[in-house]
Amino acid sequence: MAAILLVEDELELKEMLKIALARRSFTVIEAENGREAIARFRPGITDLVITDLIMPEEDGLKVIIKLREVKPSVRIIAISGGGKAGPGNYLSLAKALGADAVFSKPFSIAELLKKAEELLEIEQ
């Protein structure tokens, strides 16, 4: 059972991503911010984290660092909307800090799902 931790503060967007993941039979654990993400992370069953970068209460970069500490082998996809700091900066930073892939909104869902499946197959 592949569980994905989905971290996104924009609720409508989170809902859409959850539906898209569920259609592919993934189990989705949701979190609205970094603090919840760290609290709900279950190392035993979570193999992939999809997280937004800019959020209130512990932003995405901190999430990536903390979760890597807890489970070094977890796969992480970072997504960002740009704007406040510029996707260029945040995303390259995310990669440097341990995200396995980065996507800039609005991205293609098909590509995100493809990457998610790719990262999870490598895991297995």
Binding site: M16, I19, G82, K84, G86, P87, G88
Partner: protein
């Protein structure tokens, strides 16, 4: 030759008195003010040389007359006599007047009347002094004009500072909005992709869903422009061939160019490199060419695109910078379109300024172009003639290809 002077009222001792008189007479005569002595019958008893010169009347013809004879009955009764009387009553009187003098036209004067008393304190005469303050007045006027000008410049500077701050705030706001916008776009495109999966392929519904995705793509490129504007310059720059990007953008534009418009190119050198983000450079060229085509909409015309290299030394006066690069790539876009009005010219690089109707452009283009060019340490100049056409000149510092 001995000189005999008139005996003064005061009894004198002879020789020393005449010397004293002579010296003081000289003092009075060489004063630049008009000085006269007037008695209680309002008659001139003495006038100095400056007085006679200013009036162009010899003293012989003034002495014994009244100011009324010189300035006219009315002026005398109304303005002069009351002041003379005040002086004779013991006060020092000062006032300002302007006269038309025969010698030098309209002048401004400070007039003063000072009483002269006998040893017993009786006022027998007054000394009238008229002091020309025309130069003082005009220099005071000049100073106050300068102060006004300075104040205007200060206000202008403050306004520009405020505008710059507003622009910065706008940039931050735009950035924030673009971020939220991208979130919404992601939601729209995500659901639409799912719809496409659910709908039968090649059906009318799936076609519509595809159109939604196309629109999202266009919206995305718009938010990128907004972000470029708000972020200005944190893009990744690399050594970029201007000629290559220019040619690519021309090819792109050519596809959408109507047949009656000719595109001419004068690319002098292919090997001109600048430090830039190739995608941004492409967008700048595209923007300027699209504007040129729109200026020639509906009629025949020519768009001339040029690329040359210029020495920095030749541009020093034009580039208002401290640091001028040794060489610049000069990229020119010239159209034969409707031209830009002088009034509009001031504002074309302002964000959200547009001369187009609602729905036909956001007005972000040129402000983004300007911001991007500045960030590349370049400059952009525009010149235009109504109904003749417009010329945009882009200057970007040349870098040596690191391979060389």
């Amino acid at each position: 030759m001995k000189r005999y002077l008139k005996k003064s009222d005061k009894p004198g001792t002879g020789k020393s008195e005449s010397v004293e008189n002579r010296v003081y007479s000289r003092v009075v005569d060489t004063s630049r003010s008009m000085i006269s002595v007037i008695n209680r019958n309002y008659r001139y008893e003495r006038v100095n040389r400056t007085f006679t010169r200013a009036h162009k009347i010899p003293s012989g013809k003034i002495i014994g007359k009244t100011p009324g004879d010189l300035w006219g009955r009315e002026a005398f009764e109304r303005n002069i006599k009351p002041n003379l009387d005040r002086c004779f009553s013991g006060k020092t009187v000062k006032y300002e007047a302007s006269f038309d003098t025969p010698l030098s036209g309209k002048r401004f004067f400070e007039v003063s009347f000072r009483p002269v008393r006998t040893a017993k304190g009786k006022i027998t005469h007054l000394i009238a002094e008229t002091h020309d303050v025309t130069s003082l007045r005009s220099s005071q006027k000049a100073t106050s004009e300068l102060k006004k000008e300075l104040r205007r410049m200060e206000l202008d500077y403050e306004k520009r500072l405020l505008d710059a701050r507003k622009l910065e705030a706008l940039g931050v706001l735009a950035g924030g909005m673009a971020h939220d916008f991208n979130n919404i776009l992601a939601t729209v495109s995500g659901y639409t992709e799912m719809l496409l999966e659910d709908l039968p392929e090649e059906s009318p519904s799936s076609h519509k869903a595809r159109q939604i995705l196309n629109a999202v793509g266009r919206a995305r490129s718009l938010t990128e422009q907004i972000l470029t504007f708000s972020r200005q310059g944190k893009q990744k720059k690399e050594v970029t061939s201007v000629g290559k990007i220019l040619k690519e953008s021309i090819e792109f534009v050519r596809a959408g160019t109507p047949p009656q418009v000719i595109i001419r190119t004068e690319i002098i050198s292919d090997e001109v490199n600048v430090m830039a983000d190739p995608a941004q450079l492409f967008r700048i060229f595209l923007n300027l060419m699209t504007n040129a085509l729109q200026a020639m909409e509906g009629k025949a015309g020519t768009l001339s695109v040029g690329l040359a290299v210029v020495n920095g030394s030749e541009l020093e006066s034009e580039l208002r910078k401290e640091k001028v690069a040794p060489r610049y790539a000069l990229i020119t876009f010239r159209d034969t379109g409707s031209g830009i009005d002088r009034a509009v010219m001031q504002k074309i690089f302002d964000p959200f300024f547009t001369t187009r109707e609602i729905g036909k452009g956001t007005g972000l283009g040129l402000s983004v172009v300007h911001g991007t060019v500045s960030d590349m340490d370049g400059e952009i100049f525009v010149s235009s003639r109504k109904n003749k056409g417009t010329l945009f000149r882009l200057l970007l510092p040349v870098v040596i290809n690191k391979i060389q």
